[in-house]
């Protein structure tokens, strides 16, 4: 069967719709559900959706699933966004440095990037969390550390090609220093690439956060996170399957949105190099 190929505007429209829903859910937060996500009510445990005002039911401790899923938006997006900023900044700095300086700095940084790519991310995550402890910032740090490599690799390749462009040569001939050329024409030319890489990296970060929380080394116990909710739902899969649906749908929505935006921008810019 042939799937009709979506063109850039279609992808972008779908992505924008998804983004609107994600932003609305994040802004509204758990108050939309009418329950405190942390409120435990053992009498009301495992209520099916629609009972006693719980639109999506309650979990094994009687907590409102809708409130917890909505709270999960804030947690996941905050973690992923901060990790994206950290990873993006580190990766861009390393990538530009390696792409700009020929000779040994490039050789050393390229090897460093390759080593980081080869290093198993989960082992790194376990090591950092074992050392730094559980919590929001530890998680952000871990994900940032895993994330910078993707940026560095793409930015390195892109910077090498940008450096050969005539308008970059023109800027150097005008007597502008390296810093000015990099912060000016080079960074401007990198913008579309960075945006596309960010969209895909964001999707990866959401999945990574959910995975770590699912394994119990992400969000601290009790924090409403999608991965944690999915982990909790396992023991009730046959008796209370609704515990699974809401957090899974939220992960799918957020990840799909980021990927749609990334794909749309890629096609719009023909691979992400040109802005015109």
């Amino acid at each position: 069967m042939r799937v009709p190929r979506l063109r850039a505007p279609g992808l972008l429209v779908a992505g924008a719709l998804g983004l609107a829903v994600v932003v609305a859910c994040t802004a509204a937060g758990p108050s939309l559900a009418g329950f405190d996500p942390a409120h435990v009510a053992t009498a009301d445990r495992l209520l099916p959706p629609g009972t006693a005002g719980h639109h999506l039911g309650t979990d094994g401790l009687g907590r409102d699933v809708m409130a917890r899923t909505l709270a999960g938006f804030r947690w996941s997006l905050a973690v992923a966004l901060l990790a994206l900023v950290i990873g993006g900044a580190v990766g861009t700095v390393v990538g530009v440095a390696a792409g700009w300086h020929e000779g040994w700095p490039r050789a050393v940084l390229s090897r460093a990037i390759e080593t980081a790519i080869a290093f198993p991310a989960l082992v790194l995550a376990l090591a950092v969390i074992a050392a730094a402890g559980h919590g929001f910032w530890a998680l952000v740090l871990v994900l940032g550390l895993v994330n910078w490599v993707g940026f560095a690799r793409v930015v390195l390749a892109e910077t090498r090609s940008i450096k050969r462009r005539e308008y970059v040569l023109a800027a150097r001939l005008l007597g502008l220093g390296d810093a000015r050329v990099i912060l000016g024409p080079v960074l401007r030319a990198l913008r579309p690439t960075l945006l596309v890489v960010s969209a895909f990296a964001f999707a990866d970060l959401l999945v990574a956060e959910a995975s770590l929380s699912f394994l119990g080394i992400g969000a601290p116990l009790g924090t409403p996170s999608w991965g944690g909710m999915l982990a909790d739902s396992r023991q009730y899969v046959f008796t209370a399957p609704w515990l699974l649906y809401a957090p899974a749908a939220a992960v799918v929505l957020a990840v799909l949105t980021a990927n749609l935006l990334g794909d749309g921008l890629t096609q719009l810019w023909g691979g992400g190099g040109r802005a015109e």
């Binding site: 005008l174 502008l176 220093g177 913008r191 015109e276």
Partner: protein, 331 residues
């Protein structure tokens, strides 16, 4: 001679991988006299752009010296060169690639003014508009992105940018070859006018010898990394001493069909040789119509044949001009 920029026995090599090196410029002696225009002419791949970029010390020569205003800048590092760069500017070949597509023309011009002249945002913007007007563009061009401009307009903007820092030396690398024939003459005339107005020293890199001869004081002809002939423009065009120069002149058609039909010419056979494996002896000998045995063995030195007119041919000056060159347009 009072030269603003000078190459002495200049050699420029590029590594193409392990053991493979390309000698793009091979032992060039060339001086651009102050306030004069020197045209550097040759086929693509002859090393003329590389020579231009090496005179600006974008490339570092493998041997030889580069002198700017009498000072040896061969070994200067980028930090020292940066202070010198405003005095030496370049108009790049491709106006479609040499302007940053992400900013307006005004911002592109304001950037060096703010960085190198310390102008404020408003003053730089004002100066950018003046510069655009001085190259015949409306001041409103400052607010436009390059993709809204035509090739000729872009090249004018590129010239305005090169003049922003009031340089003494302007190297124009094939400034019109990417343009429509109809706009070429205008851009050439603009360069000539600006040269006079700002008392610039110009190195004009071109492949059209006839056009270059008209707008320059001196002409140097390059072939496979070497200067084969150099002299005063009218002299070189009227009495070319090197068969390669004659061949280049033959390539220009004469507007008079009677002359065009009967004029003698040298038509070059084959491609220019690769600079990776230049021919022995005189590099031109495999394509030369007057080559003899000696040419395949011994490389002819660049020697003075007439006053201020040098040629690298064993038979320069001995022969009557081997072929009468064509009359030059307007010349």
């Amino acid at each position: 001679m009072n030269a603003l920029v000078e190459a002495r026995a200049l050699v420029v090599r590029f590594g193409l991988g392990p053991g493979r090196r390309l000698t793009a410029v091979d032992g060039v002696d060339l001086a651009v006299p102050r306030h004069a225009t020197l045209a550097l002419v040759g086929e693509s791949g002859s090393g003329k752009s590389t020579l231009g970029l090496t005179l600006l010390r974008v490339h570092r020569p493998a041997a030889g010296r580069v002198l700017f205003d009498g000072v040896d800048i061969t070994d200067w590092d980028e930090r020292r060169l940066r202070a010198l760069r405003p005095r030496m500017q370049m108009v790049l070949q491709d106006p479609y690639a040499s302007l940053d597509p992400h900013v307006t023309v005004g911002e592109a011009l304001a950037e060096p003014l703010r960085a190198c002249r310390g102008l404020g945002r408003a003053a730089a913007r004002e100066r950018a508009v003046e510069l655009l007007e001085s190259v015949g563009l409306p001041g409103s061009t400052a607010g436009r992105r390059p993709h809204l401009l035509s090739g000729g307009q872009r090249q004018r903007a590129g010239i305005a940018r090169a003049l922003a820092l009031e340089p003494e030396l302007l190297i124009a690398d094939e400034p019109v070859s990417a343009l429509d024939v109809s706009t070429r003459a205008q851009v050439v005339a603009l360069l000539d006018e600006l040269r006079r107005r700002h008392r610039l020293t110009v190195l004009l890199i071109a492949h059209d010898l006839a056009l270059a001869g008209q707008v320059s004081d001196r002409v140097a002809v390059m072939y496979v990394g070497q200067v084969v002939e150099e002299g005063p423009a009218p002299d070189l065009i009227r009495l070319p001493q090197h068969p390669y120069t004659v061949a280049l002149l033959s390539a220009t058609p004469d507007p008079d069909p009677r002359i065009e039909r009967t004029r003698p010419r040298i038509t070059l056979r084959g491609e220019p040789p690769s600079a990776l494996r230049p021919p022995s002896g005189c590099r031109f000998h495999p394509r030369c119509p007057i080559a003899r045995d000696v040419c395949a063995v011994s490389p002819p030195p660049l020697r003075e044949v007439r006053t201020g007119h040098r040629a690298a041919c064993h038979f320069a000056g001995e022969l009557e001009s081997p072929v009468t060159p064509t009359r030059i347009w307007g010349g």
